[in-house]
């Protein structure tokens, strides 16, 4: 137990300007924070490095210890002084406490046909970060935007973050790997903290920057800092800035980088890169995660965990049939372009704070600064803004819905009619999807094939275990839903225009609501043509509705199949074949396209040839999705999260990333 006798406390009038705290009295600061019921997290020596961990006393701090850092190399060294913060950022990032590596999100239980999903409360016990540097604070700011700055809030992060008290420390040295100056995040601490310390020979210059900070500061045994001390502090930090210089000139970097997607250097760095993922996990801003389920043997209870993942892992961008970024070079390019370029489009800032962790902790010493300078010459490029935000939903929050009807559409495809869905679905609109979960299975994005007053329909093709399990659901059974998610088909833009709908296979499901909407208000649209392709006549979905749309609803329905027997007198050939000779005036036309990516490319090309402007050719994309709201990072495509900014995009929006390999 610590005994504190500080005559000054409580009696001293609040200081004007910075105070001076004797080094030994830092213990008092620690004790005060702990008395507030906070765990104090600070630097301490462990396994030959200075990590962040819970500390209780000054003795836990690395007194008189500094570090040497270089690409792929980190060593501690004795300093010839008693400084407690005479080092630079180490392997640990503060996200360990605000965004832990492993978080239980939801407990799902199954009892007969009843299922339930219970969100897990975050551990929000108060903590204090002692020794956060400028770059660390900038990193927290970036996470604030990612997790709480858009329409979507991550409740776990929000709760943890709200309980952090930050004691910042000015950098009085720099490592060879630092480049905060280039990223505009440091070395000077500029806001985002409660208390700021600058270490001097005898102690600390101390300033408060928040109400809580001032309250605490007033309890400390301080004297006013002398002008010399203030000048000394400022001079040291200025010296640090000078030492770092400007290793990565940042002006126009995003555009320069995106203009070099085909640079040979990507392949060269992939020779050295082991794609181990260390850079992304050491990075204080990387936020990609993956869900895993742990189930008891009876399958009656399963816990859904969220854990750190990395775009460098081959499995990260996997969908049925392979990975979207099959080559290491694709994955390195994804990481670098996201961090330094497309992050701007998503969150209005760079994703890098220049802390240098990815350089020091790269086992093979790849230096991101060298790669950037080698790859990105000055070429401008015009960024575009993402379109409408869909309805919000948190990643751990499932609503259970009940199956009231099932319809076998084809041999492998079933339509489920669900009730008891989230009221939000009543506001849902065409093209949106839901994250659908069964206990023990990873949640899957399924597009909504019909909106009903008291529920929705999902048309699911049983391809993998989870989808097969969903197709096998019987009337009365339950499943978990999140949503509706994603944006919608821009029907408003189709009003008064000729609408062409081109789709294939299961792709008709997300467009079915569009057709319902059209039938509901047919007069608002010009000619409406539906071109629908399937593998064989037996694979056509919604046959009765196709019949009706064509016969009585004033929609020109053209069907084609890839192959058929002689008894089929309809068309045979790919779907574009249905209109690639049509002599159209594309000028007043808008197109909605959904199907396999190759088919959409063929269609887009043909439509463009008919004179339909790229901005009015809309496609819906499929990517690996886990959170559905742009928090897990799986579905990134260039600057977009397909789940949040899509799934519907115009060809104009996508530009040349549509159909490019490895994006």
């Amino acid at each position: 137990m610590v005994i504190r006798t500080t005559p000054l406390r409580g009696h001293r009038p609040a200081l004007e300007g910075p105070g001076f705290l004797a080094r030994a009295d830092l213990q008092i600061l620690i004790d005060l924070l702990r008395d507030d019921g906070r765990r104090v997290i600070g630097p301490t020596v462990s396994d030959g490095a200075i990590i962040f961990d819970e500390i209780t006393s000054l003795d836990d701090l690395p007194r008189g210890i500094g570090d040497e850092q270089a690409p792929g190399r980190y060593r501690l060294r004795r300093r010839n002084d008693e400084r407690l913060f005479g080092f630079v950022v180490g392997p640990t990032a503060w996200k360990k406490w605000t965004f832990p590596a492993l978080v239980p999100l939801t407990v799902a239980t199954k009892d007969g046909h009843k299922v339930s999903f219970t969100p897990q409360p975050p551990d929000s016990s108060p903590v204090a970060f002692l020794g956060a540097r400028a770059c660390d604070i900038a990193a927290l700011g970036i996470h604030d935007t990612v997790f709480t700055g858009t329409a979507f809030i991550d409740p776990d992060y929000a709760a943890r973050r709200a309980r952090v008290f930050i004691v910042a420390v000015q950098c009085t040295n720099a490592a060879s790997t630092c480049f905060c100056t280039s990223m505009g995040t440091g070395p000077e601490v500029d806001g985002g903290h409660d208390i700021l310390l600058t270490e001097l020979d005898g102690g600390f210059l101390i300033e408060a920057d928040s109400a809580a900070g001032h309250v605490l500061m007033d309890k400390l045994p301080l004297r006013a800092a002398s002008a010399t001390e203030q000048y000394g502090a400022a001079a040291t930090v200025a010296a640090v800035r000078a030492r770092i210089g400007d290793p990565v000139p940042a002006a126009g970097l995003p555009d320069r980088l995106l203009a070099q997607l085909d640079h040979p250097r990507w392949a060269q760095v992939a020779e050295r890169c082991i794609t181990c993922g260390n850079c992304t996990l050491a990075c204080p801003t990387c936020f990609c995660t993956t869900l895993t389920q742990t189930t008891d043997l009876s399958g009656s209870e399963s816990i859904m965990y969220r854990s750190w993942d990395s775009c460098f892992s081959p499995g990260f961008a996997k969908v049925a049939g392979g990975s979207f970024r099959s080559r290491p070079r694709d994955r390195y390019r994804q990481w670098l372009t996201h961090k330094f370029a497309t992050w701007w489009d998503q969150f209005g800032s760079s994703g890098c704070v220049g802390c240098g962790r990815c350089i020091t902790w790269c086992p093979v010493g790849i230096d991101v600064r060298d790669e950037l300078n080698a790859i990105a010459p000055a070429v401008p490029l015009v960024p575009e803004t993402p379109i409408v935000e869909p309805v919000a939903a948190t990643p751990n929050d499932f609503v259970t819905a009940r199956v009231v009807a099932t319809r076998q559409e084809t041999v492998d495809t079933t339509t489920l009619t669900l009730t008891g869905t989230d009221p939000a679905f009543a506001q849902g609109s065409t093209g949106q999807f839901a994250m659908v979960a069964l206990p023990g299975f990873p949640p899957l994005p399924i597009s909504i094939s019909r909106f009903l007053p008291d529920g929705i329909e999902l048309t699911i093709r049983g391809a993998g275990p989870a989808t097969k399990a969903m197709c096998a659901l019987q009337v009365g059974e339950q499943l978990g839903l999140r949503g509706p998610l994603g944006n919608n088909w821009p029907l408003d833009r189709a009003v008064g225009r000729d609408l062409v709908i081109v789709t294939g296979g299961i792709g008709l499901a997300p467009l079915r609501p569009v057709l319902h909407a059209i039938v509901g208000g047919r007069r608002r649209f010009g000619d409406v043509k539906l071109f629908y392709g399937a593998r064989t006549p037996a694979d056509l979905l919604y046959r009765d509705e196709l019949e009706r749309w064509g016969a009585s609803d004033g929609i020109e329905v053209s069907l084609t199949v890839d192959r058929a027997g002689p008894d089929w007198t309809g068309r045979v050939g790919i779907v574009t074949h249905l209109f690639d000779q049509a002599v159209w005036d594309g000028a007043n036309m808008i197109a909605f396209v959904c199907g396999p990516e190759r088919m959409m490319q063929a269609t887009a090309t043909t439509l463009a040839g008919r004179g339909v402007p790229a901005s009015r050719i809309h496609v819906t994309l499929e990517r690996h999705m886990e959170c559905g709201i742009g928090l897990c990072g799986h579905c990134q495509m260039g600057k977009y999260f397909v789940c949040r900014d899509g799934p519907v995009f115009s060809i104009g929006q996508l530009g040349d990333i549509f159909g490019r390999e490895g994006i």
Binding site: V572, H577, A602
Partner: protein, 160 residues
């Protein structure tokens, strides 16, 4: 109007010929003649010699091929305005599939020897016609490629 004018008019409705110069259209009309058939009519048979070039004006023609043990498989249906028969331009002037009218059809057909002679002697006509043929062939090729991809097949994901 006279037969030629009528054929020119018919040609103009077709995607294939509408782009051609008036001169080329007229010349084609002189070379071609109108042809009609009832649904079910077999227009040409896979492997048999078929020294004709044909442009479909109305109706639909199914191109089929016989696969042992699977029977006749329709590989493509040709829409109005497209070329449905070009074996007259490609030695050995045999049909590569069986063409059957699945609707009442009307087409314009050209006798092979005459057409080839004209194309050989009249550079202007050849220069006008061949690019259109090439586009038709290229498009057919691309479509076939996509069909081969079997895009809508269920990707059977491995159970484990």
């Amino acid at each position: 109007m006279n037969e030629t004018a009528a054929l020119v008019a018919a040609l103009n409705t077709s995607w294939f010929a509408s782009g051609l110069s008036e001169k080329a259209q007229t010349r084609l009309a002189e070379l071609g003649r109108r042809f009609t058939a009832e649904p079910g009519t077999e227009l040409f048979r896979e492997g048999e010699s078929s020294d004709t070039f044909g442009i479909l004006v109305h109706g639909r023609v199914a191109l089929r091929t016989l696969v042992p043990e699977r029977g006749d498989i329709t590989i493509l249906t040709v829409e109005p305005g497209d070329v449905y028969l070009w074996s007259a331009l490609v030695p050995p002037y045999r049909a590569s599939s069986t063409g059957t009218a699945i609707e009442p059809i009307e087409s314009i057909i050209f006798e092979g020897a005459a057409l080839r002679a004209a194309l050989r002697d009249e550079c202007e006509l050849a220069a006008a016609l061949y690019p259109r043929v090439l586009v038709a062939v290229a498009r057919r090729l691309y479509a076939t490629r996509l069909q081969m991809l079997d895009l809508f097949a269920t990707q059977q994901v491995k159970e484990w």
